[in-house]
């Protein structure tokens, strides 16, 4: 409907824009401002509405992309300049397009939500709600939430591109005001309307994120410690459920339900004999504090086996587990012991059964992935869903309890069902949460809690489905997750929970999305399940039931620390000092988050006259190797060698030992020394930037032939201007093509407009986003056709491997 405008032509040039202050922006875009402000409040109030788009819709739009994109501003969200805040905007844009960053942020965010709930619950438990101190008081955690919301907001803007986008650049702009405020609170250095160093901000933001991970971990541990271990969960939970639901009802704010991402918890089933896995997901709604969970267990067991849920050891799945929420664990825990009891009573062959289960995990996994990977799985899933429904119905019938009256009843029903399951000797429990918002497929089952046990005579197949709707926050209990235990002792019954957050209502979609998610967030997945490191543990929510009698005692909830910032950005370098006399080496290993590259290689007196620079252009590669060049300790700076017991000449060199998945190169353009007037000035020397970097590891032969050691450029922050405190920042980001990401990102996750501009480069200049295809960008980079705006300042490379392989 809107007029075709080419963004480039329409947008204000960077030079014009540079000095713009926030006041000016408001003036210029008064009409838009109202809108933006509204967005802002929505965002702040966490009342943004989730918009569900049908897949078809998106595809359709993709097809029409060309047409559309020309008529309006590109469908990539931009950030408003709030008064020389382009340093912030450029960094935010880069982070958004950093592979693995959004999933990591999402996980962290969900973790925060979960911990918050845990704490609330803790307070509820003690019945002194006044003590409750919101996590928001921790500023770095606050930062995470604000960052998350900002990205969410940007994503929504992109999703609503059709409706909202006009030829005006502001139509796609989001105001990062809250984030800016919290950053300024955290570090007053960023106050004021002067320009700041984008690199410094990046460092700060990343370290705050890291802090928040640490803090969150501690809080969580704290909370978990406080949680009563031996309390019989059922009643407490029931009480809380009831109170919560009552509150919910009274508040009667159904919209609230949608402002948070849903969390879908799945329990992956592996069955002993014939493996068939069904994962049904329904969109779930809960109040702001509650995450909806949906867990479906479907198990087919050989006749004598008890019900058992097992988990697959596959690394892929671990990412899901990690996301899963403590509540779920707790809820499950409650179920499990009971169901286990139920099933253990009839037969004593649990152990043998467990072995079998383990033996077949692999099959299960492959089966699952096949289903999810291929679109053909859809039908199957649907039928499965249908199955479940009917099953549920059956269970209901059998248990004689049907609750269709609403949430509370549903919850009650869940427990009733559990009881029923116990009575029936059910070994499998399927928890299912559904909400009023759930799609048609789920609606039928909505509000139902079903327990079903079915025996098939010939096969002795038992299929139990318990569907329950639960507000996870209410679950209380202690669950132990110990992956190594699971691994090592297959005899123990193991339950695995997998959780997936989703917004959309198609179960099929959610499943595939979930799997895609797994691929997208591989950095989180433990590479070796057997290690049993904290992270591994975190990624698995396992129940280990050592014996029937000790069910409750043996269950513990583990608090696990996430550290996606470290996983993404942390590298290791080795400082090696070699004595020139005895030639012994001393090595010290140090961490680094980015590499500062001097723009000018200082001409040492050593540099030989014969070896003249081949070209005046300093190539980045050369600069980087200059950085690793040998430093000589000599003259009056000799090195004391422990072997020679004397001061000797030595060579000190830096070697890259472990390289990060995201390599940040900071060109040292600002120096105090080169300035004529004694203040920080800028070196504007041209540095040619390669699209890919060769392997830097010192252990690899040079040149290193391994493609996975190479690095690919995905973002640049450029700076235009002459000093650190003035000028303008903008960023160029590469939108990953679907191939790079492996799979398109699931909709319920924070996402970037991958589908619209695969493989293209976005020039993010505050409110304005311009799209360049690879070729023209390369041209700009090399200065052939046009040029980048500003001089490259911070460069971002990612490892030349799919994100899914970034296990640490």
């Amino acid at each position: 409907a809107s007029v075709m405008v080419i963004a480039d032509a329409e947008s204000p040039g960077p030079l014009k824009k540079r000095p713009r202050l926030s006041l000016k922006v408001q003036k210029n875009n008064e009409s838009k401002d109202v809108k933006v402000g509204k967005e802002e409040t929505d965002q702040g109030g966490e009342k943004g509405k989730e918009v569900f788009e049908e897949e078809n819709d998106v595809i359709e739009r993709d097809l029409n992309k060309e047409e559309n994109s020309k008529s309006v501003v590109p469908a990539a969200a931009s950030l408003e300049n709030l008064g020389n805040t382009c340093f912030l905007n450029s960094v935010l844009q880069v982070l958004r397009y950093t592979p693995g960053f959004l999933p990591g942020l999402e996980l962290l965010y969900q973790e925060i939500i979960q911990v918050e709930k845990l704490r609330k619950q803790d307070v509820l438990n003690k019945e002194d709600a006044g003590v409750f101190e919101p996590l928001e008081s921790n500023k770095s955690i606050h930062l995470v939430k604000d960052l998350y919301r900002l990205y969410k907001n940007m994503e929504q803007r992109e999703e609503n591109h059709e409706e909202k986008a006009t030829s005006d650049v502001m139509s796609m702009a989001v105001k990062p005001q809250k984030l800016l405020n919290i950053i300024r609170e955290l570090n007053p250095m960023f106050e004021g309307y002067l320009q700041h160093d984008a690199q410094e901000l990046l460092r700060c933001v990343l370290s705050y994120l890291q802090d928040s991970e640490k803090d969150l971990f501690n809080i969580k541990k704290n909370v978990l410690e406080k949680l009563p271990n031996k309390e019989v969960p059922k009643n407490v939970i029931m009480d809380r459920f009831l109170s919560k639901c009552a509150r919910l009802k009274s508040e009667n704010q159904p919209q609230n339900v949608f402002h948070q991402p849903d969390i879908l918890d799945q329990i992956e089933q592996s069955e002993a004999a014939k493996t068939s896995i069904t994962q049904t997901t329904t969109p779930v709604e809960a109040d702001t504090a509650c995450l909806a969970q949906e867990e479906v267990f479907k198990m087919e067991n050989v006749p004598n086996s008890k019900l058992r849920t097992t988990r697959t050891p596959r690394g892929k799945k671990q990412s899901e587990e990690q996301k899963s929420n403590q509540k779920t664990k707790q809820a499950l825990k409650q179920n499990t012991p009971r169901s286990r009891k139920g099933c253990d009573e009839p037969d004593g062959t649990t152990e043998s059964k467990g072995v079998e289960c383990n033996g077949r995990r692999k099959n299960t996994e492959t089966g699952t992935s096949e289903v999810s990977d291929s679109g053909t799985g859809e039908e199957k899933m649907e039928t499965d869903c249908g199955d479940n429904k009917t099953v549920n119905g059956k269970v209901n019938g059998e248990s004689g309890k049907k609750d269709k009256n609403g949430k509370q009843q549903t919850i009650l029903g869940m427990f009733q069902n559990q009881k029923a399951g116990k009575r029936l000797g059910m070994s499998r429990t399927i928890l299912r949460n559904s909400t009023a918002k759930s799609g048609a497929a789920c609606q039928t089952s909505d509000g139902l809690v079903n327990g079903h046990c079915r025996d098939e005579p010939g096969l002795g197949k038992t299929e139990d489905v318990v569907k329950c709707k639960s507000a996870p926050a209410l679950a209380n209990g202690v669950v132990s997750g110990s992956p190594s235990k699971n691994q090592s002792s297959p005899r123990k019954p193991v339950v695995k929970l997998e959780k997936c957050d989703r917004v959309c209502n198609s179960p099929l979609k959610s499943v595939s999305a979930q799997l895609a998610t797994q691929k997208l967030s591989p950095c989180k997945s433990g590479s070796s399940p057997s290690k049993g490191s904290p992270r591994d543990a975190k990624q698995r929510l396992d129940f280990v039931v050592t014996s029937e009698n000790k069910v409750l005692n043996s269950i513990n909830l583990k608090a696990i620390k996430t550290n996606f910032i470290e996983d993404l950005f942390l590298g290791k370098m080795m400082l090696r000092t070699k004595c020139c006399e005895c030639e012994n080496c001393r090595e010290r290993i140090e961490d680094f988050h980015d590499i500062s590259v001097p723009v000018r290689v200082e001409k040492t007196e050593e540099s030989d006259d014969e070896e003249k620079e081949e070209d005046s252009d300093s190539c980045l590669r050369k600069l980087m190797f200059a950085f690793t060049e040998v430093e000589r300790l000599r003259d009056d700076n000799k090195y004391f060698c422990d072997t020679c017991l004397s001061h000797v000449e030595a060579e000190r060199s830096l070697h890259y030992q472990g390289l990060p998945n995201i390599l940040t190169l900071h060109l040292k353009r600002f120096s105090t020394s080169s300035g004529m007037f004694g203040y920080v000035s800028k070196i504007n020397d041209h540095v040619s930037i390669p699209l890919s970097l060769p392997c830097l590891r010192y252990k690899c032969p040079s040149p290193c032939s391994r493609p996975d050691h190479r690095y690919l450029l995905y973002a640049i922050i450029t700076h235009a201007g002459v000093t650190l405190t003035s000028g303008h920042y903008l960023s160029y980001v590469h939108v990953p093509s679907n191939q790079v990401q492996g799979r398109e990102s699931p909709r319920h996750f924070l996402s970037t407009p991958t589908r619209r501009y695969p493989g293209q480069w976005l020039e993010c200049d505050d409110e304005t986003v311009r799209v360049h295809d690879e070729e023209s960008f390369l041209g700009m980079l090399q200065g052939e056709e046009g040029s980048l705006m500003g001089t490259p300042y911070v460069l971002f490379y990612h490892r030349n491997t799919p994100v899914s392989t970034w296990s640490v």
Partner: protein, 677 residues
Amino acid sequence: MSSHNRGTAGQGKRKTQISFIIRDEIEKYNRSGVNAIQYDPDLQRLYSAGRDSIIRIWDTQAKEDPYLFSMEHHFDWVNDIVLCREGRALISASSDTTIKVWNAHEGSCLATLRTHKDYVKCLAYARDKEMVASAGLDRSIVYYDVASLVALTVNNNTTSISSVRETHSIYSLAMNPSGTVLVSGSTENSLKVYDPRDCVTCLMKLKGHTDNVRALVVSRDGTQCLSGSSDGTIRLWSLGQQRCIATLRVHDDSVWALQANDSFTTVYSGGRDKRVWATDLRNPDHRTLICEEKAPILKLELIEGDSENISRPGVTDSLWVATTDSSFRNWSLEKVQNQMSGDYDLDTIKPVNTQPLKCVKGNPRIKQYHVLNDRCHILTKDTDDNVALWNVVTARLVENLGKVNFEEEIKKRFKMIYVHHWFTVDLKLGLLTIHLDESDVFSAWVSAKELGFTPSSESVDTKLNLGQKLLEALFEHWPRAHWFVENEDGMLVKVDSPDFSVPDHTLIIIWHGLHSSHGSSDGESFNFYRFVCRDAGEMDQMNVPKHLNDWVPHWAAEIIIHKKTPKSIKLTFYLLPDPSTGIKPIKNEALSVPSDLMQVRKVIEHVYKFLRQGNENGHPSANHDKEVQDFSSIAGEKVELLCNNQVLNATMDLRTVKHFFWKQSGDLVLHYRIIKR
């Protein structure tokens, strides 16, 4: 183990320093690695340049004890030596930055050249022209005419030299006998070739090595050159073609030493892998493993028995091998020619020699030390794991403990006493070198009793300053150090003699570092003066007393000549009632005592007096010694002091309290309380 100080040479910002070496009068055996060996075929003598700073002369024909004598004017590693003038003169290069010219037959030092500003690492000698070149870490190469060097005297102390400056530290140097070609190897990983006749221009630069070039040999005619490098290869270069004509990969590790026979057909090489190889240059696949040493090989000296110019019946080809170990050995090359073959397996190959022809034994070197916390004794451990106890103030070995556990000995000797740091230890010579620095030399006060000795013992609290006493002892023989009093006969009589004495062979070095750096630039070079303790009083030809006047730094002169007593260290502390006493602190002022050696007992007395005054208000103070004694013991029974909630021993001094109980910076806080019974 205490931290090493930044040693003598090369570490800037030192104003003046006095160092001395604790050693035996005659150090007969090498104490540390041997950096270079030269052989005098006429006298069949061997010269070894040790890292212990001593050049020793050995008689290779001796049956029993090969040691002849030493030449010891250096005080840092001797890095290289060359024998000139048919064995009459020896030139040595040292890390003390000097080059010395010696009369090799007599062992006297003829001249000292301070042409370099940093460690001198290598020498090259052109026999036919009697030219010598030196180079080192100051990146310059200097050429000398040996005849003019030998002619240097105290009065005629100038000679014309020419030098060239390179860009990298030079680790190796070689000339051919006729002196037509000079090659240098440096950390630039390349060779540079000069014409010594026009030494300024670099003829060519040969690149190829990937690491430091540590050894060089030039063929007699100057057309070929061999280089050994830390990259583990030996390269044969054609200087005419200016290129590498062969790369020998003989060693597993860095190549540090090379020798070639006169006809340049066989190269002998040694290095960090401790192996000595002989390789046929005409067919590099033919090589022989001559021997395997126990330590990395630093230098090889080839003795050719039947070459044309040195024809000597009874002397077979052999190779002296110097290593980082203090003993060095002579290996036969007899079997080498026969054994050369292309068939070998690096892993299983056995050296042709298992036993050396000769071995010159060395002493173990001290490799580890620990300053005991009385700051007077040092425990050391040598390379044979012998542990020894030394006294710094007397510069003597106290006790050789043999092969005992070092850590346990340290523990055994732990005393609850804290003495300030006042000297630093250096082990680079394999011997104990003690450095005294102006900044802290006088910070160690000890009570005479603690030192285990009572000088005149009239008072209980005699305090001694260790630095002061040591300096007095070191300069005991310096006439100016004594006050003379005219006695009844009109004779001058020396009044005080030092409380301690050091062995009169102790080697003392005075450093004047007037500069901020040494070695690199043209800035003011540091300077030093070396003398033996007993020589301080002699008016010998080196004019020692006169020089000593100029050299002794003012801070030492104050003590030695003017007999000033160093200032004691003040200590400030807070004295507060213990919370349990319920006494309210009357004033919260810091108390200052003139010496941190004050004992806890004194403070207790003060407290007791203070408390009693508070109670009895104006009790006449006791004025008899006896009463003082009583007072002291009563005080000790009534009051106790605490620091960090630990009751303090009355005999402890305050600095010890501060160090062991207070354990933090900032003023010491003591609490007192009344002992209840």
